[in-house]
Symmetry: C2
Subunit: 350 residues, 2 copies
């Protein structure tokens, strides 16, 4: 199964990104030839979604190295390129994981001539992209076991083809269920302030004929109380070693509401989202974004232009709210330090 | 204390309404000379907020009767005027309560000549407006006892001078606390889809220098988890006899989140919001509004224009989530059939 949309295309000289800021009304592309352009695209949300950010960062490094000349100080220049990409967004750990992969590639080939390193890094970026596609496919396969034949699934933000290089994480499972003949109906929370649910998820699902109803984030509780939500399924930007999950702001509210209504709450994410170096959610750095994301929609102020605003892009859902974490290596049910470690061991030994 | 803004001004020949659709960027007024114009203003949200809708409807009836001629069939014309206003919005019971007050006025003066009825109905509408102002003042006084000296108060929608003829219900209490020297800080949920929190509450509070921070509705849970919300204080559109509360969509989610975090959840409303004829929340009619309220912000689509949408304007919060209901006659803590009936008896005998 191939999704009808594609967030990233990697060419030898550029990364072509679908400009997600302009969706759903305009379908335009941004070509990035340098690591600076990729960094700016990540920061400004041309591309977003934890796995897609990781792939874009790897591509950005390969493109940055491509522009180096033999007389440049490679170690210093490479470190600077990696640092430029590391500075874009603090929460999604896939970004740092992808940068570490590119660094490891250089370390494995220390002393190799520049053209060789350029070729190797571009190949590694391409490998990350292909791997991400395969990871999404497997997440979909594993997740399928958790989706009843007829299900109304509430999701948040966008975790689909626009957030990954493949069919998506949470939306990948929904795609797998839909194409596997289950009757799924998606309730897409609009996901203020940036409206990824309204602009991206509704658009992406509608294009493939997957039934979707758009709601405001504030409607979730009421729909659960009416028994109209069978399960909640979201993605993740970083998962602490104990299973706590940082994800798009509003995820925590949904998890608490789901528990209060005995609705199962699932998280889907690649293993690269698990950060073994972060003990619990309390240590996950939360990105605060510009106040105007809340004060404005598009170019239009919807609030007094100078009103004080709080704008965390993410919140943390403690592991005990999560019935299961679905990864490419299988399902951690429930996610705990032990079940997560077991999945990672299984993946390492396979 | 007089609020810095005024939603409704009743003149002998017209009702002047602050056009709340255009706030906060434009401060313009709509003059309604007929009951048709008032009905359209209520329907299109030029004026909103349960108590303000009630006052506007009473004024609309007085203006409709003002345009009758001696040769008209008064009972039929009066019934039609009342019906036009009753058809505007189904949930806020203050609308029906106000219409009933105007009908009772006519019944008390059956057979009176038209000029006399015109004078009496305009006086009754003015009385409702003045009463609402006084009710808000008393709600503020009673509610003050529930506000600690330093409090961060989460509120939803708009319950202030823009929703009433006075200082407001929930915002009336916040005003009373602020002007009474308490240090209150308001967290205003933006209240998608119509954004009354962002457009109205943030604007209204900022104009009076009451500290306010605007948040998206999805941030409430995370802020409660961080211990940053001392209490939740909202209004009501209809309260069933058992204490269940219909209020702006999203209220129920806040109530469940508040209970999960042991944050007190309070409702402020005039006694006219209590509907003795509705046994429980399940019987309250919920208004569903146009899909484009969710698909668009202002003139701009933020979602695929043809995506399916769910758009209930209200939800129902069961009484057991509510620590107290604050009315002009005192506090029902917790609201139950018994405590509500006791308040109404107290009010009737005073």
């Amino acid at each position: 199964m191939r999704p009808a949309v594609c967030a990233l295309e990697l060419y030898p000289d550029r990364l072509r990104l679908l400009d997600q800021r302009r969706l759903p009304l305009e379908e335009t592309y941004v070509d990035c030839y340098s690591h600076h352009e990729v960094a700016e695209a990540i920061r400004s949300l041309v591309v977003r979604g934890a796995p897609a950010i990781g792939v874009a960062a790897a591509a950005g490094i390969a493109l940055g190295v491509r522009q180096l000349r033999p007389e440049d100080d490679f170690p210093a220049a490479f470190a600077a390129i990696c640092e430029t990409l590391a500075q874009t967004r603090p929460t999604a750990v896939n970004l740092f994981w992808a940068i570490a992969r590119m660094r490891a590639c250089v370390e494995r080939h220390q002393g190799a001539p520049l053209p060789e390193l350029q070729r190797l890094l571009m190949a590694e970026a391409r490998r990350l992209l292909e791997e991400d596609r395969e990871i999404c496919r497997r997440i979909g396969e594993h997740g399928l076991s958790l989706i009843p034949p007829r299900s109304t699934i509430l999701t948040h933000c966008n975790t689909g083809a626009l957030a990954t290089a493949g069919i998506g994480t949470a939306l990948g499972i929904i795609r797998a269920a839909h194409y596997g003949g289950r009757q799924v109906h998606v309730l897409a929370g609009e996901t203020r302030p940036v409206l990824q649910g309204a602009r991206l998820t509704a658009w992406e699902l509608q294009r493939e004929g997957i039934p979707v109803t758009l709601i405001t984030d504030s409607m979730a509780g009421s729909l659960m109380a009416q028994g109209r939500v069978d399960l909640v399924l979201v993605g993740a930007d970083r998962i602490a070693a104990n299973g706590d999950v940082a994800n798009k702001i509003g995820t925590y509210s949904l998890a608490v509401l789901a528990q209060a209504h005995r609705v199962p709450f699932y998280v889907a994410a690649p293993l690269s989202t698990i950060d073994a170096n972060t003990a619990s959610g309390a240590q996950i750095p939360i990105e605060y974004r510009a106040a105007d994301e809340v004060r404005k929609v598009g170019d239009r102020y919807i609030a007094p232009p100078e009103v004080e605003v709080e704008n965390p892009a993410f919140d943390v859902t403690p592991a005990h709210y999560i019935r299961a974490l679905i990864t490419e290596a299988g399902i951690a049910m429930p996610p705990t330090a032990e079940t997560l470690a077991a999945l990672q061991r299984a993946a390492a030994s396979s």
